[in-house]
């Protein structure tokens, strides 16, 4: 659906030494995936998106949308794009704005007549159709941005930081719209620097820092391959201290002891069993056994050494 091969882009800012925005980035996004492109500010997310939508030319490498080179006009029929903090012609009303963009994507007057009200309804702006965009809140602008991206019913949707600068209500609205669109089977590629957004919405993720891709894949697979941990809370009779070697790393708490067991997934069960046996052998009481999965945040920091 989206194939990126060895994409490299360098900038020269005001005559200074060239800065590498993208360094041989390769990744694939499959049909129907909601793909999160995660990285700190300035990592190269927007540069990659601009190449995907044909606003920028790479120094080397290729980017294809459904098998068509992204710089070709034909590829743009396949994609809808919502830029970061969308800037639109604010003197237009919501309806005029969608009519204008509808003409750009080749809709006929008849199609516009049915499509525009449907989309305004879908993004919850039907009542504001005659309102000028300059009076819209940031959340409303984001929603009308979604409507323009969906006008020609594209198969791929590319969203650049769609939740950036929104309040919690706006974030929730945008998240709901993305989930709604995802249910229609469209491929969604969206960039963000907020890990939680990816955890909540995406099925796959890629990490980028300083223009270099640090890994990508299905979120469950990525988390499954990493070390998991287990937290066991227990108490011992007569306030005794743990004596056996398996319990040596325990910490004292208000009401007993707690031990964290970190191990590769295949050895974890065995180690947990050994600890539980030791507790019982010391006549202790197991209070809780809580599995702790690695989060995307752990993965991100482990892979990037960057702060988000």
């Amino acid at each position: 659906m989206i194939e990126i091969q060895g994409l490299t882009k360098k900038y020269r800012v005001r005559g200074l030494l060239p800065k590498t925005a993208l360094d041989a980035v390769s990744l694939t996004v499959r049909k129907g995936e909601v793909f999160g492109f995660l990285g700190p500010n300035g990592a190269g997310k927007t540069s990659l998106i601009k190449i995907l939508v044909g606003l920028m030319t790479p120094d080397s490498g290729t980017a294809k949308i459904m098998g068509i080179d992204s710089h070709l006009r034909e590829a743009k029929f396949k994609l809808g794009y919502l830029p970061e903090s969308p800037y639109f012609h604010k003197f237009l009303t919501a309806q005029e704005f969608l009519n204008f963009h509808g003409r750009l994507v080749g809709l006929t007057s008849d199609q516009l007549y049915t499509r525009v009200p449907t989309l305004l309804e879908k993004v919850g702006l039907a009542k504001s159709r005659k309102q000028k965009l300059k009076t819209f809140s940031k959340g409303m602008l984001q929603r009308i941005g979604f409507a323009q991206a969906l006008l020609h019913d594209p198969e791929v949707l590319i969203l650049d930081e769609p939740m950036s600068g929104l309040d919690p209500v706006g974030r929730r609205e945008v998240r709901d719209i993305i989930n709604q669109i995802a249910m229609t089977g469209k491929t969604i590629f969206f960039s963000t620097h907020i890990i939680h957004d990816v955890e909540v919405i995406c099925s796959s993720v890629a990490f980028i820092t300083n223009g270099k891709l640090k890994g990508f894949g299905n979120i469950e697979d990525l988390l499954g391959k990493t070390v998991s941990s287990m937290e066991i809370r227990y108490s011992l009779p007569y306030s005794r201290a743990p004596e056996v070697s398996e319990l040596k790393e325990s910490r004292k708490t208000m009401d007993g002891w707690v031990i964290d067991i970190e191990s590769p997934a295949e050895k974890l069960e065995q180690e947990v069993n050994a600890v539980l046996t030791s507790i019982i052998s010391q006549k202790g009481t197991v209070r809780s056994v809580v599995p702790r999965k690695n989060s995307l945040e752990d993965l991100f920091f482990a892979g990037t050494d960057a702060s988000v």
Binding site: L55, R73, K78, L79, P83, H101, T114, D153
Partner: protein, 273 residues
């Protein structure tokens, strides 16, 4: 009765009609955008004041009231139109980039040249309307002052509009690769040099040091000769302006615009946004 649901099919074919519609769409939005610009209305108001002042000045004179009004009025139209062409032409592309409104437009199946041509189309429409409106007010005052309408005035209007087109297209070249303010400065330079072209040509082969001569030759070759469009003296002194001269000058202007638009499209098409 079962409701028939019709799935909307969206065309993904690129036809000439589609291409033209896209250009017109961009042109219409540009027109709407530009007529909302404060500078348009403030300069138009200033132009009306100047034209009105020309009437007042003509009253001060005992003779040739109409000629004074026409002379002063045509100068006002030329200056105001030229200023608008430069300011609006300079912001035509650069402002869209600075405001980032260009991103959503160019993410659609729109060629960059369509964007440039559409934007210029909107600007030309505004400039033509503006020049026509100013000229109509001027003619009203001219007739009230006792003047008689002639084809020379019409030819002057057409030549003036052609000059605005050339200036706007040149400003658009600068707008395609620099900022609004820089583009305006470059375009103003073209305006000044273009109106001093005859003097510049006269000194080109005489200027010292000699090393400057090729540079001046290049400037006089590349930049438009805007003195060709200036027929104010002929109009106010009722000197003949032949159709041959008018047509040739219009052709010169159109050729120049074509060159400028082509250059702007080429530069903009290669630019990273």
């Amino acid at each position: 009765m079962k409701k028939k649901v019709r799935k909307v099919e969206f065309s993904q074919k690129i036809t000439i009609g589609h291409t033209v519609k896209q250009i017109l769409g961009i042109g219409i939005v540009t027109f709407h955008e530009l007529v909302r610009e404060k500078i348009l209305w403030s300069t138009l108001l200033f132009a009306f004041l100047c034209v009105g002042l020309s009437y007042a000045l003509s009253r001060l004179s005992f003779v040739e009231n109409a000629r004074i009004a026409l002379d002063f009025g045509l100068t006002a139209v030329s200056l105001i139109g030229g200023l608008l062409s430069i300011v609006m032409g300079a912001s035509l592309i650069a402002k869209e980039i600075e405001n980032r409104t260009v991103y959503v437009v160019l993410s659609k199946a729109v060629w960059r040249w369509q964007f440039v041509v559409g934007r210029l189309l909107g600007l030309f429409t505004v400039l033509i309307l503006n020049a026509t409106l100013m000229t109509l007010v001027l003619l009203l005052i001219f007739v009230i002052s006792g003047g008689h309408l002639s084809s020379a005035i019409f030819k002057s209007l057409v030549l003036q509009i052609t000059e605005f087109g050339v200036l706007a297209s040149m400003a658009c070249i600068f707008s395609s690769f620099s900022t609004v303010s820089l583009a305006a400065i470059f375009a103003s330079g073209v305006w000044v040099i273009g109106h001093a072209m005859e003097d510049l040509r006269a000194v080109t082969d005489k200027i010292e040091p000699v090393s400057l001569r090729p540079i001046l030759h290049f400037i006089t070759f590349v930049l438009p000769d805007l003195t060709r469009f200036d027929v104010k003296v002929q109009v106010s002194h009722q000197l003949p302006i032949t159709w041959g001269y008018t047509n040739y000058t219009i052709f010169y202007g159109l050729a120049y615009m074509a060159f400028a638009i082509l250059t702007a499209c080429t530069i903009f098409s290669r630019r990273d946004l």
